[in-house]
């Protein structure tokens, strides 16, 4: 592996996931995408209705 690849692929932290000791290991971008889309689907099919969220 070349130095450039080391810099680009190994040392670089995930762009949107700040490194935190002891924190969750989940990629927050994907987590936000999945959670957000699931919630959108729940809203669209009516499971999360108008009156549920205060």
């Amino acid at each position: 592996m070349t130095h450039g690849q080391v810099v680009a692929e190994t040392e670089a932290p995930e762009a949107s996931t700040p490194p935190q000791a002891g924190g969750w290991r989940i990629n927050e971008d994907w987590a936000a995408t999945v959670v957000g889309l699931i919630l959108v689907v729940l809203v669209l099919v009516g499971i999360i209705g108008k009156g549920i969220i205060p």
Binding site: Q5, A12, A15, S16, T17, D29, A32, T33, G36, I53
Partner: protein, 375 residues
Amino acid sequence: MSRAEAVRPAAPALATEGFARWGWTAASIILLLLLGGLVRFLDTNVATWFPKVAWLKSVEFPVYAIAVGLVGGVVLGALGLRDRLSAAFRTEFLIKTGLVLLGASINLAIIARAAGPAFVQSVVLISSVFLLSWWVGGRFGLDPKLRAVLSAAVSICGVSAAIAAAGAVAARKEQLVYVTSLVILFALPSIFIQPWLAQQLGLSHVVAGAWIGGNIDTTAAVTAAGTIVGDDALKIAAIVKQTQNALMGVVAVLLTAYFVFRVERVEGVSVGLGALWQRFPKFILGFIGASALATLFINASADTKGAGDIVATAGTNLRIWFFILAFVCIGLEFRPADVREAGVRPVAVFAVATIGNLVLALLLALLLFSNFHLS
């Protein structure tokens, strides 16, 4: 007893540690929800408690959320509990989930129409502000790696860009901490100052949104400022900011190449294009996906107005909760000590670049979004 068994911690101790960690995480989530509930309560009631104070009616929930977070952070810091209770303080996750939900309330056609001017604005702003900050950093004698991290942060999207740039140029951890502290130091007042300036300048909500999205560094602060101006401003600010976010990968790859080939002059090196995808903010796909889903749902419904109401009411309330929790986290995570350690020179460079960004973003917003209509 083998050597491995002697070194390995006892199982009951590990179990106790695990329970304690889960306990603190649960306490952290409960605390965050309670603070979010307090914000919702204040947002609903403060103006009614003081009916004679007219300006209180225009105070939006981000103001209460950040104030509650800041006070909460001070209290937790004084009690020595902030680090233990920080597991649920996930500003990035909460704001990005809220933005995916925001996507559901924007018609896909609007995103497609706004993407063009937003892309032009982002490319011009990122390159100009990055080069300005890089040049000023050089005049102030900053280390090249610190200049790169700082310039990426001020020109693209704050903390995320700083992290991407720090990885690209292999910056030291302290340099990253300096810059992320500066980002928060400048973003917090911008949340309140820029909406006020937009009002004083008489900008339309669309132009104000484009200005906010182009200037303020962190996505969370952009969302807060856009919310204070209004719903249309929030939509445009989110589209502009996410276009900038999408360009983060390109900047990170260019920075990697520049440092490898020009600054460090390493022989026989290649920079993988896979880094582009690695650094692409994937939640943008969720934002567009949510918009597509909601647009399809509304268009396919027999009762288009009713379907639109469902998305508008339930989706908006849900999104507001995520934003409230994210803004509370901004306050909770703010640490004045980190900012004090940053020193004067990086602050001066950041200030100059921010002023340049403010002026240029206003000009571009006026030029590209004056004739843009959401409906």
